[in-house]
Assembly symmetry: C2
DNA sequence: CGTGTCGTGGCAAGCGATTGCCAAAAGTTG
DNA sequence: CAACTTTTGGCAATCGCTTGCCACGACACG
């Protein structure tokens, strides 16, 4: 492995009979050299199979053409769409994409940022678990864009959960439900707060009663306890923090022979893979998660200007929509 | 963003009253400097919040402490486990993890490798779509480890599909099936070949008849055509290239009111998320995919020695096991 | 034909580390 | 105490590329 020597800009320069600087310019700054020279240099470069060293370029110019995305848990299907969108966008721009798992920990998040800081142009923080202050503080030093999280003055791409949550409530109300229980996600999750607020707003408007339980681990296994807890509240509808949890709930309810949706309706968030073929199929709030990832990278790219001048905080808010399936139905009477 | 100036090794050197080289040694090569000086330097470095520049280090030393993983399609749940395992392992070793999607294309694969070559210490190629020759050729120049793919003389980590496929056949035979049809995956997929061979072997041993159909796109949508094609063969059991396809088949069969497993049994591969809660739950060949990812990175790390001397080809073969669920049953008579 | 402008290309100084080589200091030995 | 070895720290080159600055020639203009 590792060829003895890769061809450098100097090899090209020598072969083409010009200075290294000219080669560099021919490559990066076309208008700075004579068209003819440029052609020639490009030809030689091609012939020699020259490939620039991203490292050297980055070291010198300060631009790494790399972005990193930090995700609390790559295992969680919730993030698949976002990761995919971000990767695609980066790749399309010829930007290297680093993916890192932060294990649901704010500390790990901070550590990784510090660690990667010099190797990337910026970070996409998906559902960051850090406090507002921490994020804000880090943003002083690093180029950050948030996904599904908002912090005063920082660029972000979020899928609207509030309006979506209100849609959920309206949907439930239209089916005759008068009470709902929200099975909350992680304590530090901004999204969980948003969702709850949206539900609360909606409930208030429609005169429904909404209660919150949890937090529960936002995974299938969390659904057991969540379902049991939900049942004792007597609510006719449960809204789970995400589809994973909702699927867990569905499973537990089936175990306990509680009919869905006859006896109780279940709603999730994210419309992950599988939400359409679990039984009953899950009513869920779908959103363009990959679009969020895409936008985030885009914002990052815009921001690459090294000016300390904060760009007018760019925020992207993406609409969500309710996908109605078999897990919601008329409230029992 | 981007603080005006990050502290460099020189800042530390000045502040500590030593030469830059000493600082470098204190950090990397402890035994090369006096313990006292070392303490002092480390203290100053700490106080100044010094963080080495991975770029500079890499440029000089040739080691980037970075690995890249190339995946045909990050969207495909099949790879989630592998990606996760690889990311975890890299992260644990303090190694930066680059993830890239090759869009099921051998060309993209090659391009990306070429592009990243200078920025990484090696590549993990998951289910590479390149020809044996291409891979072999690239391996001359780059540090490669394959996942779920074998090429003469190259290190690889694979989940055993052959033995697993035989298990599948045995299982089906024990249920009285006499014929099975394999719904094949992508043409260039090595794995598809392995699986088919395993099925064929098994069938031969047990006197069953096995036929192959396809290739089909290994996604849920591929299941429609696949199911229809399978039905006309009259086989009582279908083995789909992966769970995605199997789930698509299940769905199509349900649409056509073909009872599973009464009328026909369905088997998948991978045991992806959802395989346990689709209806009927899917019998599938499960394997430690994350283990494969983990091992691959490990092999890469071992190989980092820049010696051109090929290390004794390390291969890791991981056992798979059959998970039997509701989609397989007694053959109809 | 002198002078001012532009268009091009080269020189050389970094970017932030690592490392071979050398020399001074310290320790060892007879 | 001389001669020698070992420890320890510094100098400076190097990795491959970018870019500010300068110089040279061509061309335009009066």
């Amino acid at each position: 492995m590792n060829s003895p020597k890769r061809t450098t800009i100097y090899d090209v320069a020598r072969e083409a009979g010009v200075a290294a600087s000219t080669v560099s310019r021919a490559l990066r700054n076309p208008r700075r050299v004579n068209a003819a020279t440029r052609e020639h240099v490009l030809g030689v470069a091609e012939r020699l199979g020259y490939r620039p060293s991203p490292l050297a370029t980055a070291l010198q110019s300060g631009r790494t053409a790399t972005v990193a995305m930090l995700v609390p848990d790559i295992t969680n299907p919730h993030f698949f769409g976002t990761v995919r969108g971000a990767e695609r966008r980066a790749s399309a721009a010829g930007i290297t994409f680093i993916l890192s798992d932060t294990e649901e920990s704010a500390d790990t998040e901070r550590t990784k940022i510090e660690h990667l800081a010099r190797s990337v142009d910026g970070f996409v923080l998906a559902s960051s678990r850090m406090s507002d202050e921490s994020v804000w503080e880090l943003a002083e030093e690093h180029n950050l864009v948030l996904v599904n999280r908002e912090v005063r003055g920082l660029p972000s791409a979020v899928v609207d959960s509030r309006a979506g949550s209100r849609q959920i409530v309206e949907h439930l109300a239209s089916l005759g439900h008068r009470t709902l229980v929200y099975l909350s996600g992680p304590h530090q999750s901004w999204l969980a707060g948003e969702r709850w607020q949206g539900l609360l707003d909606g409930a208030r408007n429609l005169g429904m009663r909404a209660t919150r339980l949890g937090p529960f681990p936002p995974r299938v296994v969390g659904g057991g306890a969540a379902a049991d807890a939900a049942l004792v509240t007597g609510a006719t509808a449960v809204v789970a923090h995400n589809d994973l949890l909702a699927i867990g709930v569905l499973r537990r309810l089936a175990e306990r022979s509680v009919k869905v949706p006859e006896r109780i309706s279940v709603v999730g968030y994210d419309d992950i893979f599988g939400a359409d073929f679990c039984v009953p199929a899950l009513t869920t709030l779908a959103g363009p998660q990959d679009e969020a990832g895409r936008s985030a990278v885009e914002l990052l790219l815009e921001n690459r200007s090294r000016s300390t001048a904060r760009t007018p905080d760019r925020r992207v808010m993406l609409p969500s929509h309710l996908v109605i399936r078999g897990s919601t139905g008329q409230a029992p009477r």
